[in-house]
């Protein structure tokens, strides 16, 4: 393979990987921007979506595409429930409490996943039309990765529409910008919180299910990718869509390129990039919090 096509291949894989990180991380960006809440357990919702899809397919015989919907709904429901019962108590708590609390939830989710599904990687059976490769302009592109990117583009368009064009979206934006003023205008900020939290969890679940054969799925998932999701938000800036998107795509490309071209350095590249980015942009690429 020539250097150019291998470079394009790496770029393509990196973008697919990055769009997945974006899909999972966007919910975290919203909770952090909206509620100033550090949720280290966000990856657990993605894992839940992954397991929900696997079970729906293997035990209930649901096809792949509807199984994605199952993942979306299962994680959304879990997010809504946990927000109502637990998270809500900690919106005003210190960041330290939030960190400890969500690390606790992460550990519990890992133990529960190990108990119910065992410590091994979960396989996923893709439908025939999503396997194989497509030939585009003389390049071989993986069909599944193209599908993945198309899904993320669709979701992003829907999200941007939701945030920029609907009444609910303007309530979210108002609450992010100035919570007190939003309450003063009669916006039910608590309800906005609940819905966005559930939506963020649902998107994470969708990402977890879509990512089974890119990111893998085993009980350590929430810890293994915690840094990546946090990175998307910290580098991208909380509370926006564009910032995390750029950050996720950069992260995906750098990570794949690093592992392809300098495998002996391993994951080191990504952590170094992260620390450097945080130094240059302490508030994130599109940061809006002072």
């Amino acid at each position: 393979m020539s250097t150019l096509t291998s470079f394009v291949g790496v770029l393509f894989d990196g973008l697919a990987y990055g769009s997945l990180l974006f899909l999972i991380g966007i919910g975290l960006s919203v909770t952090m921007g909206l509620m100033n809440f550090i949720n280290l357990a966000h990856g657990a919702f993605a894992m839940l979506g992954g397991y929900a899809a696997v079970i729906a397919m293997s035990r209930l015989g649901v096809p792949f595409i509807p199984a994605l919907l199952v993942a979306f709904l299962a994680s959304g429901a879990a997010g809504a429930l946990l927000e109502r019962v637990l998270y809500r108590r900690l919106y005003r708590a210190t960041h330290l409490d939030q960190v400890l609390f969500t690390i606790g939830l992460t550990f519990m989710s890992i133990a529960a996943a190990t108990y119910f599904f065992g410590p091994t990687q979960q396989p996923v059976q893709l439908p025939a039309f999503l396997t194989g490769q497509l030939h585009v302009l003389g390049l071989d592109l993986g069909t599944y990765r193209l599908f993945l990117m198309a899904m993320v583009v669709l979701v992003t368009v829907a999200l941007v529409y939701l945030v920029e064009r609907t009444r609910f979206g303007s309530q979210v934006r108002a609450a992010v910008d100035n919570q007190q003023a939003a309450v003063g205008l009669g916006i039910n900020v608590e309800r906005v919180f609940s819905i966005t939290f559930a939506l963020g969890s649902a998107l994470a679940g969708l990402g977890g299910a879509l990512g089974i054969n890119v990111l893998g799925l085993d009980p350590t998932f929430p810890l293994k990718y915690m840094v990546y999701f946090l990175l998307v938000v910290a580098v991208g800036g909380a509370g926006t869509i564009r910032g995390p998107m750029i950050a996720a795509l950069l992260l995906g490309v750098f990570d794949v390129a690093g592992k392809y071209y300098v495998p002996q350095v391993g994951a080191f590249v990504i952590y170094a990039v992260m620390v450097a980015m945080l130094l240059v942009f302490p508030a994130g690429l599109a940061g809006r919090r002072s």
Binding site: M32, I38, L86, R89, L90, A93, H95, L96, D97, V99, L100, F101, I103, G104, L105, T106, F107, M108, S109, I110, A111, A112, T114, Y115, L223, V227, L230, L231, V233, A234, A238, Q264, V265, G266, A267, F268, Y271, A272, M274, V275, L278, L279, P282
Partner: protein
């Protein structure tokens, strides 16, 4: 005029320090566990300075523990097995790393600090993992041979020397930390914890104090790591692991932040529970760890020492 807090030892404190001395005679078969508990306690103490007093959230404090452990381990492996100089060098290396990284830490807010500490920890883990010619990689660093302390007391299999050595080091460093937090410097740290924006108004340089306490905390963590390497004569790559940083935070909040004693009590309870429960089933242990954290945050914010302090206040008021 306000006076500085007293440095006199209360009866409860003296009784506390008699416990590890008594344990040496009462439980001769558990001395290895005892050393591990005290090392964890020293490590938690170093985090208490950073987190309990200066409120810097760190998810990567194991970085300094690991640097100390590898420094002491590598020195001993290559023929410089004298324990005390090993401790000092480990402290210097870890404190230097702490000083260098502190500039990244002090300028950010909570999320940035969390990410940077996490990132530095993971980078060091990756380095130790990839540089296996030096560190032994995933298999760990073996062949650590310690010389005798003062040329007299060798590290035997019964763990007696290791226990006494750890206890003496722990006590000396605890004492220094106790003086530190009761000094004007310690009081200004508390001031930063309670109101970071107001401290400059009374003429205190916040970032200089945070740099100082972060450096000291890193150095102490390095000593704890060195003690582990010297007493077990082995360094595993997990010294840099995220689990170690997370466990450390659990110990500290379990015991109670900002008391110094909380770190020691939390470490003791945690290690003894772990010794008992993790042997039953590691998966259950992780579940209970998570449950403990959630419970502590929701219902018992002060930890064990915080609860004792509340009880004590109620008792004396009546």
């Amino acid at each position: 005029m306000t006076r500085l807090p007293t440095l006199a030892w209360s009866k409860a404190e003296i009784a506390f320090w008699l416990v590890p001395v008594a344990a040496y005679f009462l439980f001769p078969h558990y001395l290895t566990l005892g050393s591990q508990v005290m090392i964890a306690g020293l490590f938690a103490l170093s985090l208490d300075l950073i987190l309990g007093y200066a409120r810097i959230i760190s998810l990567g404090h194991a970085a300094f523990f690991g640097l100390g452990a590898y420094t002491a381990g590598l020195l001993a492996k290559h023929g410089f097995g004298e324990p005390l100089s090993g401790l000092v060098l480990a402290a210097i290396v870890a404190a230097a790393a702490g000083w260098l990284t502190s500039f990244l830490i002090v300028r950010g807010h909570d999320l940035t600090r969390l990410m940077v500490t996490l990132g530095i920890g993971l980078m060091l883990f990756e380095t130790a993992n990839q540089w296996s010619s030096l560190t032994g990689g995933i298999d760990g660093l073996s062949g650590v041979e310690m010389k005798k302390i003062f040329g007299v007391y060798g590290f035997g299999l019964d763990g007696r020397t290791a226990y006494v050595y750890t206890l003496v080091v722990l006590f000396l460093i605890f004492n220094a930390a106790r003086v530190l937090v009761r000094s004007p410097f310690g009081l200004s740290l508390k001031g930063i914890r309670e109101g970071e924006r107001r401290m400059p108004a009374i003429g205190a340089s916040v970032w200089r104090k945070l740099v100082a306490v972060y450096t000291v905390g890193a150095g102490i963590a390095g000593v704890a790591g060195a003690l582990l390497a010297q007493t077990t004569q082995f360094v595993g790559i997990d010294v840099f692991g995220f689990q170690r940083s997370a466990d450390l935070m659990i110990m500290l909040v379990l015991g109670g932040t900002g008391y110094l004693y909380g770190a020691l009590i939390g470490a003791a309870v945690f290690m003894i529970l772990q010794d008992y429960l993790a042997n039953l089933n590691p998966v259950y242990w992780q579940f209970w760890l998570g449950f403990l954290l959630v419970f502590l945050v929701l219902f018992a914010r002060g930890g064990i020492v915080g609860a004792l302090a509340t009880l004590h206040r109620r008792w004396t008021r009546k």
